[in-house]
Assembly symmetry: C2
Homo-oligomer: 338 residues x 2
Amino acid sequence: MTRIKETLETLSRKTGYSTTTVSRVLAGKAEQYRISKEAVRIIKREAEKSDFIPSSVAQSLRTHRTNTIGLVIPSVDNQYFAHLAHVIIEEARERGLMTIILSSMEDESNERIAIRSLVSRKVDGIILVPSGTDPFFAEETDETIPIVLIDRYYTVGSRLSYVGTDNYQGACDAMRYLVDNGHRRIACIQGPEDSSPVRERTRGYQDVLDQVDPDGYRCIAGDSFTVENGYMETKFLLNSDVPPTAVFALSNTILLGAVQAARESKVSVPGDLSLICFDDSVFMDYLSPAVTRIGQPTYEIGVLATKLLIKRMNGADIRENRILLPPKLILGQSVRSI
Amino acid sequence: MTRIKETLETLSRKTGYSTTTVSRVLAGKAEQYRISKEAVRIIKREAEKSDFIPSSVAQSLRTHRTNTIGLVIPSVDNQYFAHLAHVIIEEARERGLMTIILSSMEDESNERIAIRSLVSRKVDGIILVPSGTDPFFAEETDETIPIVLIDRYYTVGSRLSYVGTDNYQGACDAMRYLVDNGHRRIACIQGPEDSSPVRERTRGYQDVLDQVDPDGYRCIAGDSFTVENGYMETKFLLNSDVPPTAVFALSNTILLGAVQAARESKVSVPGDLSLICFDDSVFMDYLSPAVTRIGQPTYEIGVLATKLLIKRMNGADIRENRILLPPKLILGQSVRSI
DNA sequence: TATCTTTGCACAAACGATTGCGCATAACAC
DNA sequence: GTGTTATGCGCAATCGTTTGTGCAAAGATA
C-alpha cells in the first residue's frame, strides 16, 4: 500500500534531500554527480524500506522511452503464433523490455487500430505480422518507430525489415519429398492468397511439379488458415473423380481439417492418402500416423526479429533488411512411398 | 511522420486555439464547455489532417489511468494459457483496454518481478496465475491495484478474488467415469503439489476411490505439468508389478507424455491401458484414440475474470469473491469398459 | 587574506496531456 | 445606463520523473 503511493517527492521529504538527488542516487548516477556516500546510504535505505517503485509513466514522459515493444499478431490462440510470441516476450524481457500483444485477427483494419494504439503508447518498437496488403501506414510509422515484420511481408516493394522462413524452400522440400516417394497427383490446400507465405509456398509447389511433371495434375484449393478450410477442401478432393494421392497442407490448422476429413471418409493415411504440411507442433508427433511436416524456425525468427528491432531502436540504420531462415523437414509416417 | 510528432501544443499553434480548447474538443467535451461550432470544426479538421495521436503516456500521468491491464501467466507457450490469454486480450480490447503479458515460467521470483513491473507501469488492474505460495506481495498490491487470480489460488486464506474451474468436481467426474467403466486400479499423475488445482484434483481422485473401494489401490505420482513428467511416471507405472488399468493425467502435457510412454512400450490404449486427463485441446480429438478428458471452461474463465477485474477497477468493492465454474466431461475413446 | 577548485547538492524547466477556475465580451432585462 | 446572465475561451497548476545549470560551502593554493 505504501509502496505504490511512494514518489520521489515523498522520498525527498523523508530523507531531506531534493528529488534531484534522490533520482540520481536511485538511477545509479551518484558517482557521476558526486553525491556523498552518506546521502547515498540514507536514500537507498529509505527507498528500500518503503519499497519505492518509480513511475514508468513519468519516466517515459520525460525520457521519451517506454522500454516497451508492441507485438501485433493474428491471434495468440494459434500454436505457431503463440510460440513466436513466447520467444519474443522472453527475448525482450531479457533485455528489459515489456511486450504488449495485440491481435489483429487477420483483419487489416484491426491491424491499423493496433498500430495506432501502439504509437499512442509511445512504444519503442513494433514487431508485426502484417494482415493487410497496404504497407503505407506501417511504412509511415516506421519513419519514427522501428517496425520489424515477421512471418509475412507486404506485397509490393516495401522497404520494411523482415524476418521469416524461406517458405519457397520449405515448399520445395515438402514437394520433393512427395515426388521422391513417387507422388505426382498432389493437391495443395492453401491459406489466403494475398499472404506472402502462401504465395511463396504455392510457387514451390508449382515449380517442383513443373520440373518433374510439366503437364501433369495441378490443384491449388482453399483460401484460409483454418481447420474448416482444410476439412472442406479435403472433402472435395476425396470426392473428385481422380483423387490426389497426396495432399500438401499449407498450415497446421489446414492439416487438422484434412486429417478429420480423411478419418470421416474412412480414407487411410498414408495408405490411401499421403499428408504433408507446413508448421511444426508438439502434437504432430502424437497423431497416428505422425505427420511429416516442414518445421519453421520459430525460435530463431523470434530471437532475430527482436534483436534486429532492438538494434534499430538503438539507432542502427538498417532499414532494408530481409532475413530468410531455412525450414526443416521433419519426418513422420504420413507419406507413403508409391 | 508528422503524425507522430504532433502534440496539443502544435495543434494549438496551427489553429490559434489554446491547448485547453483543443483538448476539450478532441475529448468530445465541446458541448460541456461551450466551445463554438466554428472552433470545433477548425480543430477537428486540423487534427484529422495531421492525423493527431495523443500521447497516452502524458494522459496517464495526468489522469492516473493507463487503460492497460497486466496478465501474468506461466507461459503463453501452452495451449491452455494461450487460449486464456487470447480470451482476455480480446475481452479487454473490447472495453478499450490493452494487455501486457508477462510470463512467470512457474517461478515465484519471476512472478514478483512481473508484478513490480506492472505496478511501475501503473496498470489499472492485474490478472494473475499465481506460481508461488506466498500471497503477501500480491495481496499488498491488491490494496491499490485490483488483482484477480485465475486458474489457481494461493494456499492459505488469502482474500484475493479468484475465477477458476471447479477442479474437485472435474476430478470426481473423471474418476466416476473410470469407475463406472469398471476401473479400480487407477493411477493419478499430478503436477506440482503446491498448486491448488493439483490439490483439488487429487482430492477428487481420493474421494471417489474412498467411496467405491476404501482399501484398494492408490497411486499419486509425478510433480510437474510437463510432458517429461507424464512420460516418466507412465513408464514407471507400466513396469510396476501390477500396473494400473487406467491413468488419470492431471494436465494436457502430462497426457502427452503418457501417450508417448504407452506407445513406446507397445501398450495399447485403451486396450491395455485407459487414459483420461484434465484440459481440453483441439488436438485431443485427433489423437488415436481420441482422448476422454475434462475440459475447463477457459472462455468463461477469461471473460468472467476480465469483467470482475474491470468492475473492481471501477471501484466496486467486491474483494472476496471466488467463482468456480463447472468443467465438462468430453468423451473420446481412450477409456475401455472392463 | 584573497583567489581558485572541488565538493555536494538544489532550482526550475521540461515532457504532453487534463482541469478548476476565472475573465472578457456580448446579450439581455429593466 | 446599469446590473445580470450567458457565451466562449484561456491561464496556470498538476501528474512524477529527469537533467542542464547554478550556487553555496569547504578545501586548496598562493
